[in-house]
Amino acid sequence: MKLLPKDVYRELADALGEENISQEPAVLDGYAWQPAMNLTNQKWIPRPAAVILPATTEEVQTIVRICNQRQVKFKAHSTGWAAWGGPSQEGELQIDLRRMNRILELDEKNKFAVVEPYVCCGQLQSEAMKKGLTCHIIGAGPNTSALASATSAWGYGGTGLSTGYSGRNVLGVEWVLPDGEVLQLGSPGSHAGWFSGDGPGPGLRGIMRGFSGTQGSLGVFTKCAVKLFPWYGPPQPRVEGILLDVETDVPETEKMFFVVAPSFKKYADISYEIGNAEIAYWFCRSPLNAGVDLFMPRAGDRLFESKPLRALLKAFQHLGVALLSSPSKREVEYQEKVLRKITVEHGCILLDLSKAPGYGFWWWLMGVRSIPTALTFRAGGDFLTSYGSPVEYDNAIRQAEVAQECKQKYIDQGYFKDDMSDIGWGGIYEGTANWGHCETAAMFDRRDGQAEGRFKYLEDSARTTIEHTLGLGLSNLPPGAWKVYGPQLHNYHLWEARIKKAFDPNSVGDEQWYVPSIDEIEPKESSSDEQ
């Protein structure tokens, strides 16, 4: 186990206090258990050399400066979801931002909130609801940091039709750069409030993140403003029970439906129609077999063994969940009428869930909270995800089709749990925009020792993504993927590597999920620069 050099540890402890730094083995092991997207054949990710807990931007700055002076790599995480939140090699300092957990501002009129890194989406949503607002919650669930997906990671969520995509919802940002300088993006940098993230002049959000974030490679985000969106439900919903056993009253002006299409093509068609009609609070694909596998995995195992039951579930493969929401009964009635018209015109089936058992459960966990926390771990203990580029929805649905075929081969070989293969979830986002995503998770048990086969699946999914021109998806951006895709995409990796060098001259930010400095990729270029 590689620990921090004693003098570095002492310097950090002196700066932040003994109580806010640790290299106790048991504590460090807690940080090394990150099964999701751990794309290695190890059960654990590398153990950090120490963990430190800053409480302020100034403390983060102090840590980063010490890391620069002492040549210690660091990796920050907020709620710390998945392998990208941890170090990629031993000897790194884990910056745990859990003490920075305040909602600093909630601007009801202008619909945004300023949050610190450890504010989770569920917490923000609960406060926002009291003001008639809600926030975007990613598919990883309401336990995730609102700041992390906005600044540093991905950002798909079921309610995206009304709440967009995390990376596009960012307003002002406060950012400790890898060299220890603080950069405030947009209006906060000019002491004008937090309502804008772009300017003056070029939008520096463009180096902060693209479709994905840099997963902590370019410093530490200490505050950010995120857009909030209208919430038409009750300000403080009454919810009874916990986890998957909850019940609540659904307001009269919220209505949920299953929309079942006969084919991939028809499913895409109704998605376009729903977006164009400007109805629905969310519309998201979720094949019924996926629901069975996630919510009742043991029963699912039995059901999937039965051919007639498989056939029955297959009939609900092209299933979307639609939630209509408004403060006005008139509006919901109008939306329902249009939804019914669209489904009939496209030969689909519409099932009104308001009469179904567990309606409150569905509404709360899916419609409001986006998705029950950590559900994807239930079926196999671990999972990986693939495809899922942000793209026009015809192409997104094509991804589900290609993924189904690709994944089935690996289910047949025993690398993944049998879930009938197509569990591609993802919706249409941003109202009328007609874009969305569809990603395909694959469930497995990490203890089975079959990691090589799963890597091959990831390679295969990335290969088929390219072959079928399905965008740059989640399976195209694991560590080192830039070596393959950079040259195919205008050498984007070289521009990122130049940014890395310019903003992280000592390469102290863990670059595993981004790119190394240009010095490492093209040493010739950097030496000619110096001349």
Binding site: D198, P200, P202, G206, I342, R498
Partner: protein
């Protein structure tokens, strides 16, 4: 200094303009930005020529000033700062390369104007979200690269909208495509797979389009862009809400934005409303909210009916009265006017012949503070209230607001021309001091705005050094002054 014969070898001798009148016309505009006479004007026809021009500029060390709209220009961003500059006039690159009806997106050259694009996409039942009555010669790409606000906050999710993907040549001469246009696959392969280059993010972990937006041509030259379109409504109804005070309109506007009802949604004072509609400001209330409701593909009448009923209730709560006509002008006509480029003369010039704009971002609830300050200043400078236009444009679903003051003056009146620069500077400083965010810092504003954010300046200079290390792209703009 550019060698004209080398430029001519790239674009053809007939596309290198050296006439004195033409060059002088580029050495200034109606802003207060002082500039240099360019060496010449080149009119490239496409990517290859642009790329060769940028490489030549790097080799020979001259500056390029990209310009995609025909004049008259008014912000100073196309006025060369460096001597020996070459204007890269893209206004004749006018191809509408593709319109994808299903995905509601168009791919266009940089010289395509709003009117040209609107005419084309209307044929497919689509429309473009546009700024408030852009001048007829305004390039769509130029406008969106400058983050000019559009009139429909409902469709404005992010600051970059409705700009999607770009093809561009960096200051290094390298070709790049942003967002999904980067690949994988050629454009043709992407089209065949159902893609339409609509997603602006990326590629990967960087968002180059966002860097290019707002750069005033100082990082590269855009050779085409894709633009997000919306459906042309089956039915549309416009409404006015008149207000004696701004506050009563602001509260109502927040509420209707929360309900996501209006398509067009903006507030004008009587001076601007009169200038656009051809009325006398004295016949109008001090403030007017203009909004429209639309019926879409399915059950359009029913959509309008429920919206009108709901809005009537909301209006009652807020004690305002939506009306279909104001001072003899139908709101439908105003919505139509606000959805098209301005007729000549340009609407801001109609009253007095010239206009200087002071604009910035703030939030809707803070706008009265700025307006009060500006009222005081214009009085101090002897500019009567009838010559001060005010335009409030909620942006990004109402999370921010573009606030624009239009100082209308007679350029042929010496006292007007003499006091305007001082008023402009005082007004700009006052708004900045009050917390106005000058996100698009032209001319004088660049000095004022960047003085407030040295951290941003440092970061931007690093970015400039990456994408235009020899400083050939529109030098001297933003925070990229010579001393940098």
């Amino acid at each position: 200094m550019a060698k004209k014969e080398d430029l001519a070898r790239i674009v053809g001798p007939e596309r290198v303009v050296t006439e004195e009148d033409a060059l002088i016309a580029y050495s200034f505009d109606s802003s207060f930005v002082k500039g240099e006479r360019p060496e010449c004007i080149v009119k490239p026809r496409g990517l290859d020529e642009i790329q060769r021009l940028v490489k030549l500029a790097n080799d020979q060390g001259f500056a390029l000033v990209p310009c995609s709209s025909h004049g008259p220009h008014s912000r100073g961003d196309t006025v060369p700062t460096a001597s020996g500059s070459v204007i890269v006039d893209l206004s004749e690159m006018k191809a509408i390369l593709r319109v994808d009806q299903r995905n509601k997106v168009a791919m266009i050259d940089p010289g395509v104007t709003f009117a040209e694009l609107q005419t084309e996409v209307e044929k497919q039942g689509l429309r473009i979200e546009m700024p408030l009555l852009p001048r007829k010669t305004k390039s769509v790409v130029g406008s969106l690269l400058e983050r000019e606000p559009t009139t429909g906050p409902k469709y404005n999710w992010d600051a970059i909208d409705p700009l999607c993907c770009l093809e561009l040549v960096f200051g290094t001469g390298d070709l790049f495509r942003t967002g999904n246009a980067a690949g994988p696959g050629s454009l043709e392969e992407q089209w065949a797979s159902g893609q339409a280059q609509k997603m602006p993010m990326g590629p990967a972990q960087t968002d180059i389009a966002r860097l290019i937006q707002g750069a005033q041509g100082s990082l590269g030259i855009v050779t085409w862009a894709t633009i997000k379109l919306e459906l042309m409504p089956a039915l549309s109804k416009g409404f006015f809400v008149a207000g004696q005070t701004l506050d009563e309109l602001i509260a109502f506007t927040y509420q209707i934005l929360w309900r996501k009802f209006p398509d067009t949604c903006l507030i004008l004072n009587n001076v601007n409303l009169a200038a656009i509609a051809g009325l006398d400001p004295k016949d109008l209330p001090p403030w007017t909210l203009l909004y429209s409701l639309s019926g879409l593909t399915h059950l359009p009448e029913e959509r309008l009916t429920y919206m009108e009923q709901d809005l009537a209730e909301i209006a009652g709560e807020f004690k305002v009265t939506p009306r279909r006509n104001l001072a003899g002008v139908a709101a439908d006509r105003m919505v139509d006017l606000a959805s098209r480029p301005s007729e000549e003369p340009y609407w801001k010039f109609r009253k007095r012949g010239a206009c200087q704009d002071v604009f910035f971002l703030t939030t809707l609830d803070r706008t009265p503070e700025f307006i009060q300050a500006m009222d005081g200043l214009t009085r101090e400078f002897g500019l009567t209230r009838e010559n001060l236009g005010v335009y409030l444009q909620p942006i990004r679903h109402g999370t921010g607001c573009h606030l624009e003051f239009n100082l209308m003056y007679n350029p042929n009146r010496p006292e007007d021309s003499a006091r305007l620069p001082a008023l402009f500077e005082r007004a700009s400083r006052a708004c900045l001091d009050l917390g106005g965010f000058f996100s698009r810092p032209y001319g004088l504003w660049s000095e004022l705005a960047y003085a407030k954010c040295p951290d941003t300046v440092m970061a931007l200079r690093k970015v400039k050094n990456i994408f235009d290390p020899r400083g050939v792209m529109n030098p001297g703009k933003l925070c990229f002054k010579k001393e940098a």
